[in-house]
Symmetry: D3
Subunit: 266 residues, 6 copies
């Protein structure tokens, strides 16, 4: 049973021009399937702030490839070995943190694509089994690469970074960028300095037709993000979702217990 090979851009087009994304930060295929099945267009296995090592990411990507989402990965750093192993495990996109220069963006492209675009080494064992020989011909046009911009230096170099051929998108590291700008408590759309930097990023990305993503939760913030130009929205993380609903459940219990006790006492 060959899988169809669908790039992130094709999926975006099919979804009306924007993508909903979820972040898996917990290791395990079981939670990954439950989380990924809630309707996201694409799901990112997070090896940076998620507590997931390469060993656990592999079966997660393997499984996500079989669900109706595009499997993506965020790597811990600009590391050739990790990037290529995640691609060989079936990731169809890579987000790399802390890109600050066009040279770094170029290395991301170099690591993620086969010649002539890059220097990825050939050996896609799992994708070959998943997609068949179509993968060989279309890997370079299918795989997505995202450079995270999350420092003042990254913003300074945004024009050169977005000019790198082969890059698919920019992903905003909002909190890191705020810290780097010396405004650790700034929130998006509420701080002039931060917003100006973000605006610069979005403009240059748009100029080159790149996808632009960020983490944003809640209808209101998501809408402002889309209006601002973002078209790749990380609307939830697995641990955020679990934590928030569990917290609510405990509150429900406590209210019910108080109500019941009060009624009893009356």
């Amino acid at each position: 049973m060959r899988l169809p090979l669908i790039s992130l851009k094709q999926r975006s087009t099919a979804a009306g021009g924007a993508l909903s994304n979820g972040y898996c930060m917990m290791p395990g295929t079981f939670s990954a399937e439950i989380f990924a099945s809630q309707g996201f267009d694409c799901v990112t296995v997070d090896l940076q702030h998620g507590l997931i090592g390469s060993s656990e990411a592999i079966p997660m990507l393997q499984l996500l490839s079989r669900l109706d989402v595009t499997p993506l990965v965020r790597v811990p750093a600009l590391n050739e070995g990790v990037i290529q192993q995640m691609l060989d495990a079936g990731a169809l996109g890579v987000t790399c943190p802390m890109i600050e220069t066009s040279e770094q963006a170029a290395r991301l492209v170099e690591y993620a694509y086969y010649p002539p675009l890059g220097r990825r080494s050939f050996g896609p064992t799992l994708p070959l089994s998943q997609y068949g020989s179509e993968y060989l011909e279309q890997a370079n046009s299918t795989i997505a690469t995202f450079a995270m911009i999350e420092t003042a230096r990254g913003v300074e170099n945004i024009e050169a970074i977005t000019d790198i051929d082969g890059l698919t998108g920019i992903y905003l590291g909002t909190m890191d960028l705020a810290m780097s700008l010396g405004r650790p408590k700034a929130k998006l759309f509420e701080d002039e300095v931060l917003d100006a930097a973000v605006s610069t990023i979005v403009c240059h990305a748009k100029r080159r037709g790149l996808v632009v993503g960020l983490l944003a939760s809640g209808t209101s913030l998501i809408r402002r993000s889309i209006d601002f130009g973002f078209n790749f929205i990380t609307a939830a993380t697995d641990i955020g979702a679990m934590r928030s609903d569990a917290e609510r459940a405990v509150k429900d219990y406590r209210s019910a217990f108080v109500l019941s006790t009060q009624a009893n006492e009356e």
Copy 2:
């Protein structure tokens, strides 16, 4: 650093006479910590319907022992080896599914307690490190045992089951009981036959001063359960929480996207 040895009953007293409980159904210490930290009084590692094997349950119980919750376990079946290994890994309570006779309830007690109450084999490697020698003296008075009643036969034998010395509580298997009663779609507090059976269970448990638990979510259902006599409420499961909040996040995204698109089109 010795941990204080707190039984479920002591915790219940401290919490006003009832307990909030959460179910871990996903393997992994990371999700377990995040989930368990939301305020539950006790957390159950579920080896029955959770997709967790003994190997993964061990580090989860080891960690939960160090958080401010009572670590419990639900075993897949009335299996001496599994019950004792989970206790040796630090579980302070065991829930056993499908108890239908007093003989089965007696075996649960036999497996979970040291002589003279039971025949648990001595070798609590991890609890000794966690609680020190206090564990040796107080294991039998600390460890909780729950018999799940989830069949018509279990209800028939409820008097004899609750009479078993050493048993701490009854846990209701609502859906299984409904199926066993030939009413697969019945819901609690909405079906006379099911409610009558549950009432019988609760009465006999209360008569013997046992804890009575069930899964119930939402303030309203929890309150009805407490009013009905339940004092151990499983208010959330990790996967339920994750799924429900993630589903909401995707809806938020879709609403925002539609609103933004509509505004643009105008």
Copy 3:
């Protein structure tokens, strides 16, 4: 993305009345995918003689569910906890070794099916995510149960065993049966005593319309098995396949080395 719920019998019909089967004896989702993708109708995760524990079987079954094969499991023994956890992890069939009496066959059925047919406990977390609510209604008609007959005593009781309602098939344990009959070196279709016993098994299974399976490799033995009445053929195991082809590769190397050396010396 809901999966279609296809029973083993439906798959057999689609395949012309017989099934090719492969056995996964090594833990790991990666090897499972590669092996399962070679064209088998159904794949069995072997927890008996395979060195696979429940913990590793879970992600393997989870993944196999998404490939175009029916995911089956062989459990180590007639153990309620293991059987039900494997079903909750997505297995659509269970093979149980060493069934010798109709009482044991009845327990297999009891463990594997929901009421009223059996007493499987409700909580199919993963299948619900995979198949949606269709699973609730069709689990009993979809799940397959195979009793292994592999002792003289099992043969003696074959009529009563095959009469058990709910049983889907019989799987022959050829080597164990030969040992039990006191003919440890006997081979199938070459030994009168063994063949007579197997014939009895097949006849009774056929009488009841049950599937009948065995391990048989090589075109000739497979054909004899089908002619004999078998319609479920385990044509390969992962380790058998790996071993046999690796052995051939080493021979290839040695031949080539000798040829090259001889040519050089001339």
Copy 4:
């Protein structure tokens, strides 16, 4: 029980001047033992295109050390931490992909050997247990280092690369080299441009007495490789072997089924 410390070169001499090699691409000690026991002189745990992380490679290397093969590793990239951990886990050789300059080859040597040859940090916990104090004295003369040449740039610098003191061998990345040369479909011994590049590599390696390896399967291709000067032949990978034999088994089944059905119909 101390193990004898046998270098790859000693094993090559014992085997008549060339080595058969197998690649483990699947994680797991069980499959590793079965595969490695088929007669290879040396076995490589592949952390590059194999879906094996460091965590799984460690017990695999630990076990391979106890079988009658030389345990080798291919690392994902020129990464000091990974190379040294794999050596501390018992690898007696390291293959590093994408070596393009003598500076890179020198770093490989630096990472893999103790002073004065390199700067490997001292702490060989497992080899000390395996080989005793002999390891301290002979590690540098026992451990093998292979630079993979798989780009046009690597070929250009082959003289300088092979001149690096301490390097044991060259391993050809045939497919990557073909892609780098702009001839993605070229096959070895069938394409002038590719063959010329390979010839250059082999000549320079031979000039310095280095081992020269490649992946080649089938008697005929292996023989041509040996005749061409290669003396380290990767004759099989575990997944390749499993896939190829499983595919054959399914074909066997289908032939048998067709034959049987046709006979029946007649």
Copy 5:
């Protein structure tokens, strides 16, 4: 490389008629190798009070088979599936806790040996690779079975238990036996009641030529045990060893720190 197949009795003879034994209670092949390499005659992977599941025990047994010790296992309970999987993973002996009747001892024998002695199912994948076809012929004469006697009831039935054909030895559960006799604080060789029970056990075991084992640490206690008739001495557990030496190291540090501080202050 075939391993020689050495039974525990052969090893005992070679060692002068008694055996030193170590217990692995922590999961992991790395610690298992370090621990097992200290000179024990045989090493037991403890799935009962050790926090080791079947999944982790498999690679441990696989590795121990390759070291110069006899690999044994203690199972959590009299469970056919677990016993047979551990044997298929290479254990050459099984210790089963809580044997109280001759019927239970007979089941242990039944599960551990091939027909005609028992009913172990055939499929020793790993031993076949380790020992070759010799295993088929000699498994029954090589594998050791130990019944743990650790209750008053077990002592009562000791004659019938030791009369069971095929049983290799008795292993004393000293602490459990003391508890069962109502003397929880009794120590061996210091309590008349306990010693009388142990004497009965040893006499009956000796009468049948069985091996008799126990846990005993320190030269003095080991010597008294040997003098008493024991010939299988568990002289250390991995966690006991680690704990005791680490405790000493902290004391060393504290003494040194105090001495240094005092000297400084003078």
Copy 6:
């Protein structure tokens, strides 16, 4: 239950100005808890010479955070991704091997601290759950960074290295330093050349108020180290402890066996 956030320096002050440290070199939370509970002030999970990968280090750090020790980590190399993931998993300190220049020391600081001191990316999922929002404000003042000096070059640059702002301490790599100085068999406090280099290191560290650590076992060597100026003493490793006590146990057994045999023969 929020944990108090205690820096290594605070713990050192509380302990009288020096710290006892233990090294975890074996993967697994179980052994980590047993080992860490013996009284060390801080425990280091060793990803360099310990056979522990990132995946296993995460649950170990998660658990150590809940014990009464400061959880530290030694990374395999100066790798941003690994350092930040270990901090996100709860490590409160990082030891980095092979620091030879001030530029490398500055990169260590850059990777381990948030802006403005460094460029650590924000996302401390686990510490947020463990310490609450206090972590955000105090991470930079709590986290410790140790540069290992273990080469002649590192000694040459010790002044510039210790001048790097933000560095917490120096850790001596005694054996590597001896090898780098061309004196592979030199022992500390017994070799003039080695001692001179160490003296230089300690002086410069003290000048800047840095912590200075090393591995030293036995009261006498620890005392000499403290007198020499060291105030961070690795007094044991888990495998060293296990090995040394197990070796003693085997000796005990052998003495007892010989004594008993001799007595018997008389």
